[in-house]
């Protein structure tokens, strides 16, 4: 019996003007699996996530969620698909005008129509799950450190108990210890909820910790994928250069020398 992948990208193309960003991406993520896509800046990682969410529309190709085509869907159909997703944004993307608990409860109140007192209870529980007290819930996002903002963003991503969670550079801008705290929280939250996750990062410590499977994107294509444990012996020169952070190798940075 064949199982339908939770998310499947088939030959997805997306460009901006003359610049090709996604150049025929093929990737599938099975239910309950944690896939991390690694790759340098500007290789198309964020564009891939935004294409799946419908924030960007690919020019060509197919994106399936639970076997349903999502490219070009609009209105209620799109809202229904989006209810399956939670997302932790790179810069946290917390709403400045709302308190921390209102941020966490936002999807429950506005997306699901949950009454505010009930949503606040859920929000405070989720904040506790990421190690933040009820007092933090009454603060504004601007009063929090970067690490705390990431935790709040994680609480918001898991609050509505989605089926799929995307993590966009979850540890970027954090010190290594706080980065590891976030990784631990991601792993424990994901295990608890049993969700499917797709993460993008260039932090290898993060990738090793949260991934079941790692895929590498380069110039808009997936050039290697395999179990997280196999990344050290990928046999792919691009992957080796990337995971060891070497300047020399097949990936040439476009740096002008004086």
């Amino acid at each position: 019996m064949t199982t339908v992948p939770k998310i499947e990208l088939r030959d997805v193309h997306k460009g901006f003007g003359s610049k090709k960003v996604l150049d025929g991406i093929d990737l599938s993520v099975n239910a309950g699996e944690s896939v991390v896509v690694i790759g340098g800046s500007g290789t198309g990682k964020s564009v891939m996530l935004k294409s799946i969410l419908g924030l960007l529309r690919p020019e060509r190709g197919s994106i399936l969620v639970d076997g349903e085509e999502v490219v070009g869907i609009r209105g209620n159909a799109r809202e229904r698909v989006l209810r399956k997703f939670g997302m932790l944004f790179q810069g946290s993307a917390l709403f400045d005008s709302l308190k921390v608990w209102e941020n966490v409860a936002f999807g429950l109140i506005n997306g699901q129509g949950m009454p505010r007192p009930k949503a606040k209870e859920v929000a405070l529980t989720k904040l506790a799950e990421v190690g933040l007290g009820a007092d933090v819930g009454e603060l504004n996002p601007a009063e929090l450190s970067g690490g705390m903002q990431k935790r709040v963003a994680l609480a918001r991503a898991i609050a509505a108990e989605p089926e799929i969670i995307f993590f966009d550079e979850p540890t970027t801008g954090l010190d290594p210890i706080m980065g590891d705290v976030i990784n631990e929280l991601i792993v424990s939250s994901v295990k608890k909820l049993g969700v499917t996750t797709l993460s993008i990062t260039h932090d290898m410590a993060s990738a090793r910790k949260i991934a079941d499977r790692i895929a590498m994107i380069f110039e808009g294509k997936i050039i290697w994928q395999g179990p997280a444990s196999a990344i050290e012996n990928s046999g792919n020169a691009y992957v080796d250069q990337f995971i060891h952070g070497r300047a020399e190798g097949p990936i040439r940075m476009q740096v002008r020398r004086p």
């Binding site: 209810r83 997302m87 005008s97 999807g107 129509g113």
Partner: protein, 258 residues
């Protein structure tokens, strides 16, 4: 070297594209203002920002405009012994033109810039993307409350500004220019017609729509970080002011051209 004909063509096409984008944006804003779910808290917050918090500056402007108007009309009309026209010209001038136009321009400067900066910051910090992933339509949550608040609050502000402006004229007329208070008021009401007030309030509602539309539109399509947000705020004020002055002519023509 660029072909001048091609350059003109490109500018014209860019203009048409911008006009089309603005029209679609305005259509969506209006459409979603009537489609549930509604966000009463967001509408209330915008009503406070646009209406209540603009009241002091609009009131002060109206007061001094009424006072200056009375002085100028007195000086001008005394050249041909028509000083008795002061009260009637002040009330007509304030209710038909100066009340709505000055309130519109002041609120455009105060509110549309702040609106563009707020929505622009939400755009560049991915907060608008976060809204979408939380199953919330940004047109319903961000644009519709601002348009509703603009259209309802500006007429109220202008009604208050009309009263304060006429009172400013009355103060100067009776305290400085020596008019009899009862006669001044009698003249004011004798020459004031319903359509003077109604045309001013209709203008105010249209200006409120323009202010909210330009603030939201420029913010929504801002890009390029802090510089882009700054540019969006400036563009919002400039375009809103120009549109207010342009539509003022056409509404006046619609009401009073014989």
């Amino acid at each position: 070297m660029t072909n001048p004909v091609a350059l003109i063509g490109r500018i014209f096409l860019d203009f048409l594209a911008a006009a089309g984008r603005l029209s679609i944006f305005a259509y969506n804003g209006i459409r979603y203002a009537f489609v549930p779910p509604y966000y009463p808290r967001a509408i209330g917050r915008q009503m406070l920002t646009i209406g209540y918090f603009s009241l002091p500056v609009v009131g002060l402007t109206a007061l001094f405009t009424g006072m200056v108007l009375a002085l100028q009309i007195y000086i001008g009309s005394s050249r041909f012994n028509a000083e008795s026209a002061v009260a009637s010209i002040v009330v007509i001038g304030i209710t038909r033109e100066l009340g709505p136009v000055l309130a519109g321009l002041i609120v455009a400067g105060r509110v549309s810039a702040a609106m563009a900066a707020e929505i622009g910051t939400m755009r560049v910090t991915e907060q608008i993307d976060a809204l979408i992933t939380l199953s919330t339509n940004p047109f319903k949550y961000l644009m519709a409350p601002r348009l509703i608040a603009g259209v309802t609050m500006l007429p109220l502000l202008v009604a208050v500004a009309d009263v304060i402006g006429v009172f400013g004229g009355y103060l100067v007329g009776t305290r400085t220019l020596g008019f009899n208070p009862a006669a001044y008021l009698q003249n004011t009401f004798d020459y004031l017609h319903t359509e003077d007030v109604v045309s001013g309030l209709v203008k105010a509602a249209v200006f409120g729509f323009i202010i909210a539309l330009m603030g939201a539109y420029q913010g929504y399509f801002s890009k390029g970080g802090a510089q882009g947000v700054g540019r969006a705020a400036t563009n919002a004020v400039v375009t809103a002011s120009i549109l207010i002055l342009t539509t003022d002519y056409f509404i006046t023509k619609l009401f009073f051209a014989r």
